[in-house]
Amino acid sequence: MARINASVYTSHVPAIGAAIDNGRTGEDYWKPLFAGYDYSRQWIAARKPDVILLVYNDHASAFDANFVPTFAIATGEEFQPADEGWGPRPVPPVKGHPRLASHIAQSVIQDDFDLTVINNLDVDHGLTVPLSLMFGQPEAWPCPVIPIAVNVVLYPPPSGSRCYALGKALRRAVESFDEDLNVQIWGTGGMSHQLQGPRAGLINAEFDNDFLDQLVTDPEALSQKPHIDYVRLAGSEGIELVMWLIARGAMNDQVEQKHRFYHVPASNTAVGHLILENH
């Protein structure tokens, strides 16, 4: 049977992707950020997953204003890096896992989550920047990835508790798959940031660190946090953090924290990162 053994949480700032792609990771501005992922690259080399469920959001790349799915899962064979307006990132295509993805779709819909099922999907920095942070710059990504796209652009996104419940449904789906697979689930986006309006540049380190604490120790209570708290306290784009609750919901109540990192700034954004294991 397939099992979710670990989860990774990380911001997915586009400027991080650009720094990697342009060989600028050694610059003073970027060094402290990438140092925060040194442990992570060793950890994942040692605990190589067979498949990653990667929870992220599209940023007006694959989805336009005409079609906004709250939750979507991609069941295709391969996903190309999206052209976000300056050419696609020079990273490998992302291989999917059609059989597991189809199984999850069927299971989770029967569990009363109203997924949109997608086959082909171009994946933007929301999905590829976390892969780069964790795996560096390989010729090919080391394992298949199942994209799970969440609307956090058009208000309202799904509630924190809905996201947390989806995580539990994803876990049930994975555990009913008949092949032995070591599965990881990643939650991406956040932490505090606001990219728009006179308040752009808001960073709330206290909010972010409380969120990191609570995600590890009391995710159930954290899942009750209303949207207004995210957008008011963590910035209009800080709402991306609800996606972390999907990954956390798929884990045990009690987890082991293997790594934690927090850094300001990456461009306009606070960067947070956690690695949690089930035991």
């Binding site: 007006a60 728009q196 006179p198 960073i203």
Partner: protein, 131 residues
């Protein structure tokens, strides 16, 4: 009663909700169209003519021509869509964010390096402007 919009009292912030998305639909789809190189060329060659192909309000077109991002957002634009405009101009997200705050890009960058805009005084409309 109507739906609460408790986010209306967050200072300096436009929440892109369904009402805004409806108002900004054509503006956002126009922005999306700039993801294609051929459309970027046509837009650069004659911005007004390209805008006139879209069912946008005169106000929305004016805001685009002026690169007034705060105005575009007030008229239903969303920053991820509008990003296609400043990318076409060869400008970064940080540059665009700076213009929205009325700061120079340098001052904005320094603020970010120093830990970003403080939440103090920036969470509720009544205490905005003190931050």
């Amino acid at each position: 009663m109507s739906l609460d919009k408790p986010y209306r009292d967050i200072p300096g912030t436009t929440i892109f909700d369904a009402d805004m998305a409806r108002r900004g639909f054509a503006l956002n789809q126009f922005s999306m169209s700039l993801m294609k190189a051929a459309n970027r060329e046509r837009f650069k060659a004659d911005e007004r003519a390209y805008l006139d192909e879209w069912p946008m309000s005169e106000e929305q077109k004016r805001a685009v021509l002026d690169r007034d991002y705060n105005r575009m957002m007030a008229l239903g634009g969303n920053v991820y869509f509008l990003a296609k405009i400043f990318s076409t101009d060869g400008l970064s997200f940080q540059h665009a964010a700076a213009t929205m705050t009325g700061m120079t890009q340098e001052a904005y960058r320094d603020m970010m390096l120093a830990g970003g805009r403080s939440p103090r005084g920036n969470l509720y409309s009544e205490d905005s402007g003190n931050g």
